[in-house]
Structures are given as C-alpha cells and as structure tokens.
C-alpha cells in the first residue's frame, strides 16, 4: 500500500473513530463506526488480506452494524447530553493518550518492525486461508460454529417472548418481541405504530 493511500485511510480511520466516541447521536456514532470498519477493511485488502478484508466488510459493516442500527431504533435512542463525571473523562482521555503514545513509541522504535518482504504466504487468497482453516485451525473453525450457535441460543433465551403462562400483560407490554403468529404480529404492529419506537424484528439478524 502506498504511503499516500495509507495516510488518507489512516486519517479517515482516526477521524471516524473519534466520531464514534464523540458524537451525541447514537446513529451518527454508528455511521462513524461503519466508516471506520469499511476503511480498515480496505486497509486489509491493501495489506494483502483480501479475503479477510471483504469478510470484514460483509460481516461487520453489512451485518453487525445493521444489527446495532436496529437496536438503536428499537430502543428509540435519541441524542444524549454529555453527562457523567468530568474527572473520569479527563482521566480516561489522559490514560488513553498515554496508552497510544506508549505503544506508538515502542512500535516506531522497535527495529524488528520494518518494511516486510511480502511473501506468497501473506497473500490472503481464499485458497490459502481455507487451507489453514481446515488444517491448522480445524478445531478452532469447528468451535466457531458452536460459538455462533451458543450466541444464537443466548440471544433467543434473553429476548424471546415470555411464555403465555407468565401473564398476558407482560407479553403485551413487551411489544418488541418477535412476532410469531399473525395475531401477535398485528398487535405488535399496532403498538409500534403508535409509539414509532418499535418494530417487529422477526429474524432480523
């Protein structure tokens, strides 16, 4: 990757990262994050990690961020005033700056990190990646599937509509839940239309 392109992307990444933590409106934060992720994905491609770069865009930007977007909408989050403890913020800012500075100094002064010779290995084509996934990292790869399954089960366990026996009032109150039947669907639609904050989110992710 050429130096010019790097600096362009780096500045964009830094700005968008600052945008994530500095903007008041969560949607704007989210957009900044999406830009950041996209930017880093492009950087991956520039570093030879083509497959992973695209995966980053597909999964992060295309799916995870949209999931965030849904939740922000679902909870009808508005721009927030800056609250909290100034001291904490100051402390956090100083600490983070120190962290970054320390790392930066070390990275820049470590002789080992220099310009690399790009070997064929580092070209992240889908073939090389696949070969590693299915040999050295076979267990890890298989575990990932279980990890995702666990996450799905966990999310459902947390968010699924309580059983009817738990009281209809609770069920009706939680209009955010998955609509499972047309009847429930219409009810939750009507509620959400009134509140504008909500949506049936059947299988949204």
């Amino acid at each position: 990757m050429s130096l010019g392109l790097f600096f362009f992307l780096a500045v964009l990444a830094a700005l968008s990262a600052l945008g994530v933590i500095a903007q008041r409106n969560p949607v704007h934060c989210l957009l900044a994050l999406a830009v950041n992720l996209l930017d880093i994905g492009v950087m991956f491609v520039g570093l030879g990690a083509v497959t992973v770069g695209f995966l980053q865009i597909i999964i992060y930007v295309g799916a995870i961020m949209v999931l965030f977007l849904f939740v922000i909408w679902l909870l009808n989050l508005q721009a927030e005033g800056f609250s909290g403890y100034l001291g904490l913020k100051l402390f956090g800012a100083i600490g983070a700056a120190a962290l970054a500075a320390e790392f930066a100094t070390l990275f820049l002064h470590t002789s080992r990190i220099s310009t690399p010779g790009a070997s064929a290995l580092t070209q992240g084509t889908i073939t090389t990646l696949g070969r590693h996934l299915f040999s050295d990292y076979l267990v890890a790869f298989e575990i990932t599937s279980l990890l995702l399954l666990a996450a799905v089960v966990g999310a459902i366990g947390l968010a699924r509509r309580p059983p009817l026996s738990a009281g209809l009032s609770a069920a009706a109150g939680s209009d955010l839940a998955t609509a499972e039947s047309p009847r429930q669907m219409s009810r939750s639609m009507s509620v959400s239309a009134e509140q504008q904050t909500t949506t049936p989110r059947a299988g949204s992710a």
Binding site: R112, S135, Y137, L146, L147, L149, A150, G157
Partner: protein, 499 residues
C-alpha cells in the same frame, strides 16, 4: 489446485470426543426443549447430566496420553484432564442445583441448559488449548454463554443489570486479551504455545512487543479471573445472576480462566517469569487485600462471596507469582480444586434459600438457619470454614500448599500478607456462621426433600471439602502430575513437591 486431502489432517478423535459429547448434549436439549415446558425443564437438565457423564468418561481416556492433537492446537495431557474433570464436575453440580431452581424460577429451560453445556464446552477447550486461538475461542464460547445466563431472569432488573455489566467488562477485557495475543504473535511469529515458548527461549534480548503483549495478556486474564484492579464486574455480576449461575461463574468460569492463564504463562511465557512474577505479586496482594476488606462490609451473601472469590483468586495468584520454581504450579491447581468444591457447597446453600427467581441472599436471611435446617447450616459452616482455611478442611490444605510454595520461592512477605488477609477473611465468614447459629429470625426455607438435585450437589461439595482436607495426598499428586505434564515433564511420583 488439488483439494485438501482429509487424510493429511491431524485428526484425533480422542481429543474432541468430550467436546462432541457436550455439543450433542446441547443440541439434543434444544431439540427436546421444543416439547418440554419450562416448568418441567428438569428433564432437560438430565440430558445435560448424561452428556457431562459421557464427557467425563471420554476425558478419562485422555489420561496419561500427553500428546498433542490437531497439529498442536489441542493438548491431550494430564493438565487438561485435571481441569476438565473439575470443570465437568462443577458443571454437573451446577446443573444439579438448577434442576429445581430453573423450573421454579420459570427460566427458559431449553436455552438455559443448552447454554450451560456450551459454556462447559468452552471451558474444556480452554483447559486443553494448545494455541492462543483455541484459548480465545474457548474463552469466548464460555463467556458468551455465561453473559446470557447471567441475565436469564428476564423480568428481574438486577439480573439484567448483572448481565450487562458482566458483558460490557467481559467484552472490554477480551479486547485487551486479543491485543496481547496479537502482539505475542507479532513478536514470536506463531500462536502455538510450544512455538511461542521456543521463540522466546531462543532469544536473548527481550522484545518490547513481547513485553507489551505480556502486559495486555495480564490485563485480559486479570479481568477474567477477577483480580483487583480488574474486578469491578464481579460483585455485580455475581449478585444479580441466577444463583446456580453465580456458582457456575465463581467456580467453573474462574477455573477455566485460570486453566488458560496458567497454561500460557507457564508453558509459553515462562522464560519471562522474572518480568511477570512481580506483576502477579502486586495483583495477588491487591486482590487479597481489597477482596477481603470490601467483603467485610457486605450484607448480601452473594456479594460477599464474590469479594471472597476475588480474594481467593488473589491466593491462587500468590501461588502463580511464586512459581519461579515451576513446581509451584501444582499448588495453584490444588488450590483451585479445593476452592471449586468449597464454593460449590457454599453456593448450593445460597440456592437453597432462593424461592423461585426471588433471591434471599441477605446475610440477615440466614439468621436461625441452624435451628430449622441444621444440615444446611452445617454444610454452609463447613464450606465457610474451609474458605477461611480452618483445618482439616480442603481450604486449609490448599492454603497451606500455596503458602508453602510461595515460601519456598522466597516470597515470605507475600505469605505474611496472605496470612493477615486470612485473618481478616475469618471475620466475615464467621459473621455468616454467627447469623446462622447465634441469631434468630431469618427467612423460611423450602423443604429440601423437594429438591433432591440441590441436596446432592451440596452434599458432593461438602464431601469434597472434607475429603480434600483429610486425605489430600492423591489429589495433590494429581495436581502436581497434571502440572508436570503441562510442562512436558515426567510425572513426579514419589518426589517431594517442596524442592
């Protein structure tokens, strides 16, 4: 382009059969869950128990193998078996505790038990990990399942809050852990533990990347094992979570985290022991002191046990810090074993006081427990005394072992601090005993005869506490051998454990 040949993959059934057993169990639970009401979810618990039993038996086949599988990404050694066995037992006891709890509290049974099984699966991976990625994935599988479980009482604001706090800080720490892994990878060029060890050992000058990575790993694991100052999530998560899950978090999760922690630091990063040992020293002192002192003022027993868990992590860290002479690792393993049984017993009693999802965990709720339920009170007393370190219970022998190891390494100051902390801890443990035996007027407890699962898990916990205290020799031997196997050394059968 020739396709990948399946026969060239280093495929070893032995290493993954327990994992397969658990995942099959989890899937069967989910399938069966569609036909079972939440009120009858105990049946699903039994499925998990069967899966755990299968995993246990399959684990036993790995004993004494001391090989690596899947190109070194899984270790099949006694160390793994040691932790796997404890984790499986801890999970089984958690499930047994939950049999009645989950149904009474109206938790979503299928998801609950499936998540427990998934979490256990992640823990087994951490115990058997041969590279950093497996540790990371195991950790995440476990954590993600437990995040959800912590918030499983959906209508309870406290449970929600516990989950969100646990989740946020857990994910936060994952970031640090990963950065550490990245730097370690950059410094050594590999994520395999053996390769990392070789790379570090071969180098004379210390790479700053390596030190940064080490620091980040310490922060990450510090969070996971709840060492001060990375402990902020612990009390909140423990208090709000459903009580059996609190037990699960306090025992199995902590054990798995330590399994990974010890494995990385003793098999890969041991050439850097002079760098990390002082840090662990400081963490140990902070954890013990802060944990014990803050526990003094707690009025909620789950919270108190959370702080006590922090303190106990500190004691385990004493052993780790002392492990310049690497045999001391056996002490940490034994400590964790003893802590596991003790904590399970104690939390079992806490579960017994719950009514459905409603928690009666104020220490005042325990007043007069000895009069109505002498058995429960006695079990609690035994466990608390063991946590205090009163002989001849497990906690004492464990503390003895750790202190011996630390003294042996010349950490006299650290041991004195630890001992003073033990005295402080006696104060709050004894406070609960006082409430149970010497005061009147707590809450009414449901009959235990209705809750055989809970009864059994408490009994197993207490039995473990006593057995480990009175006849520790075989378990100590197992711990030492397990540790030796992780280091790739022959088992130390008749050799003295205190060099």
């Amino acid at each position: 382009m020739t396709p990948l040949n399946l026969t060239t993959i280093d495929f070893s059934w032995l290493a993954i059969l327990p994992l397969i057993a658990l995942s099959v169990g989890a899937i069967v639970v989910m399938l069966a869950g569609t036909r079972v009401d939440d009120e009858d979810s105990a049946a699903l618990g039994f499925i998990v128990l069967v899966a755990l039993l299968a995993a246990f038996l399959l684990t036993m086949f790995e004993l004494g193998q001391n090989t690596a599988a899947f190109r070194g990404s899984l270790a099949v050694d006694d160390y793994a078996v040691f932790f796997e066995v404890i984790i499986i037992i801890a999970t089984a006891l958690t499930v047994a505790m939950s049999l009645e709890y989950a149904a009474d509290a109206g938790l979503a049974g299928a998801e609950y038990y499936a998540l427990v099984a998934f979490a256990a699966l992640g823990m087994l991976l951490m115990a058997a990990a041969g590279d950093l990625i497996i540790i990371f994935l195991g950790l995440e599988t476990m954590s993600i399942a437990v995040y959800a479980l912590a918030g499983f009482i959906r209508r309870d604001a406290k449970s929600n809050e516990a989950a969100i706090k646990y989740f946020l800080l857990g994910a936060f720490s994952t970031g640090f852990l990963l950065y550490g892994i990245a730097l370690l990878y950059g410094a050594t060029g590999s994520v395999r533990l053996t390769a990392i060890h070789a790379s570090i050992a071969a180098r004379t000058a210390v790479n700053p990347l390596l030190l940064l990575g080490l620091g980040m790993l310490l922060i990450g694991f510090g969070f996971k094992v709840a060492a001060v100052p990375f402990h902020m999530w612990t009390p909140d998560a423990y208090e709000g979570a459903p009580t059996p899950i609190t037990a699960f978090m306090a025992v199995a999760v902590k054990l798995a985290a330590f399994a990974g922690f010890l494995r990385i630091f003793f098999t890969s990063l041991d050439p850097l022991a002079t760098e990390w040992s002082p840090v662990l020293w400081a963490l140990a002192v902070l954890s013990m002191t802060a944990g014990n002192v803050i526990a003094l003022v707690q009025s909620n027993i789950k919270r108190m046990l959370a702080y006590s868990a922090i303190a106990h992590a500190g004691y385990a860290l004493v052993g780790m810090a002392a492990a310049n002479g690497r045999e001391a690792g056996g002490a940490v393993l034994y400590y964790l074993l003893a802590y596991a049984f003790t904590s399970l017993g104690a939390f079992g009693v806490v579960v017994a006081l719950d009514r459905g999802a409603e928690s009666h965990a104020q220490i005042d709720d325990y007043r007069g427990l000895a009069r109505d339920h002498p058995g429960l009170a006695a079990a609690m007393a035994v466990c608390l005394l063991s946590l205090t370190g009163v002989p001849p219970l497990a906690g004492f022998v464990a503390k003895f072992y750790v202190f011996a190891a630390a003294l042996n390494a010349g950490f006299t100051g650290l041991v004195i601090i630890a001992v003073l902390n033990s005295v402080v801890s006696a104060y709050y443990y004894v406070g609960v005993i006082v409430a149970m035996y010497m005061r009147e007027g707590g809450v009414a407890v449901e009959s235990m005869s209705r809750r055989p699962g809970l009864l059994i898990s408490i009994a197993v916990g207490v039995a473990g506490v006593i057995a480990l205290g009175i006849y520790p020799q075989p378990y100590m031997g197992a711990a030492v051998n397990a540790f030796a196997s992780a280091l790739g050394r022959p088992a130390l059968h008749a050799v003295s454990m205190l060099p």
